[in-house]
């Protein structure tokens, strides 16, 4: 994934979870992030659809379980 896209994804995570700059967003997983609820996921998806001009289907949502998993989905979409 190009660094610019990776930075955009990191920025989306930082904004949605209101994180400090030194927080390692690449380690975020739904299971260990108490504030990762349905609203947070909706915000992440909306952010990505807006920033990357792409659309996700329901099958993608099911696998959006961490920063790494979402990054992998974006890579598979050619980003």
């Amino acid at each position: 994934m190009p660094i610019t896209n990776e930075q955009i994804l990191k920025d989306i995570f930082m904004a949605v979870f209101e994180l400090e700059e030194d927080f390692d967003v690449t380690k975020i997983r739904r299971i260990t992030m108490p504030s990762w609820d349905s609203l947070a996921l909706t915000s992440i998806v909306a952010g990505m659809e807006s920033e990357f001009s792409i659309q996700f289907d329901t099958n993608d949502f099911e696998h959006m379980t961490s920063y790494a998993a979402i990054q992998e989905i974006l890579i598979q979409k050619g980003l």
């Binding site: 299971i31 961490s66 998993a69």
Partner: protein
């Protein structure tokens, strides 16, 4: 990034050959008289013929011999009217986590007019897997062996490797070093009356992927996924009663779909089959106890390898994310846990369904 291309001439005869293969005799593709009355004036090549050309470039060029095609998307831009000379070209756009993404085109060789725009994703199938499994050995000592049903791959194969000459592999197909038993209900005919220390049953059919209400042939599907495995377990229970040593166990290996409230709506029959395990363990524990035998189930969450070897990286990551450790179990790890349970000689374990999911969330 890697590129590839080939050229091919297609004729009206090719359209007829494709109709013979596919059964698609739509007159636009096969009847010049009908085609002449349409806006195309001539027979149009089947759109799916182009899918075959994309398949060729995937299977022969990018990635080639070890191609495992995940999906293919085609956009038909213009009709191909044979005879035509075509160029099929492809470009690898990305490859990460074992999944490659390719953009491909089918164009006119001379004019460059694009007929079909395609994308496909691929993984890699493993080569030499059967050779790896062929290292399994038939016990040479006098000790009663542990039967491993479903020894040809996944957890069964890993378990048999660890057991070495204490294990005896049973496989439905040919597997060097194991007994071939196409029909488990006839197991006694093949392995004879030798005493058996325990039986580990890992031989479940690969998951289904059709909605239960949409099954084309429900009798056959239910037989394959539910009835036949149940019949096999019945036969193994009888075999253990007749030939098991004192305290021998029937160990049923399954998935966490066996747990109450767990299922996967995408694989309904697989879920139903696994859901039988807790009840079956209790029933067989009761029925086997008078013979001094035991039965219990061991269920794992998604295991990396075996029937899951082909899942794509995003799906693998999402399964790992459900686990507190962030890791999936390997087939070897699962096999070592079964070894640990094989050492347990307590009567207390009988009837249990032991979940070794690492605390994975549903």
């Amino acid at each position: 990034m890697k590129t590839a291309s080939f050229q091919i001439d297609v004729s009206p005869k090719d359209a007829l050959r494709f109709a013979e293969l596919s059964g698609d005799w739509n007159p636009l593709h096969t009847d010049p008289g009908h085609a002449s009355k349409t806006e195309y004036k001539n027979m149009v090549l089947h759109g799916a013929f182009s899918a075959g050309l994309i398949s060729r470039i995937a299977g022969m060029h990018i990635p080639g011999a070890d191609c495992l095609l995940h999906n293919m998307k085609l956009r038909f831009i213009a009709p191909i009217i044979p005879p035509a000379s075509l160029t099929v070209s492809a470009r690898l756009v990305s490859e990460t986590g074992g999944v490659g993404r390719v953009e491909a085109n089918v164009s006119d060789r001379d004019s460059g007019v694009r007929y079909v725009q395609a994308t496909y994703e691929f993984g890699h199938h493993k080569i030499g897997v059967s050779k790896e499994s062929a290292k399994l050995s038939i016990p040479s000592n006098d000790e009663a062996p542990i039967l491993v049903i479903g020894a040809s791959g996944g957890v069964g194969s890993a378990l048999l490797k660890i057991l070495g000459n204490k294990g005896l592999g049973i496989s439905r197909g040919d597997l060097e070093g194991s007994f071939t038993v196409p029909d488990i209900t006839r197991i006694g005919d093949v392995i004879g009356n030798r005493p058996i220390k325990s039986i580990v049953h890992c031989a479940w059919p690969a998951p289904d992927n059709v909605s239960f209400s949409m099954l084309d042939d429900p009798r056959s599907s239910i037989k394959h996924h539910v009835s036949e495995p149940l019949e096999s377990i019945h036969a193994l229970t009888r075999h253990l009663i007749d030939h098991g040593t004192e305290n021998a166990s029937l160990i049923l290996i399954g998935s966490t779909f066996a747990k109450p409230g767990r299922h996967n709506f995408r694989m309904p029959l697989y879920s139903v089959a696994k859901a039988m395990l807790p009840a079956l363990s209790n029933i067989l524990a009761l029925e086997l106890a008078p013979y001094g035998r035991r039965c219990f189930s061991v269920v794992f969450d998604v295991i990396d390898g075996g029937m899951n070897a082909g899942i794509n990286n995003a799906v693998r990551l999402s399964h790992a994310d459900r686990s507190p450790s962030g890791k999936l179990a390997t087939t070897e790890e699962a096999a070592l846990q079964i070894m640990w349970l094989l050492e347990n000689q307590s009567h207390l374990i009988s009837g249990a369904t032991i979940s070794l999911s690492g605390g994975a969330m549903p």
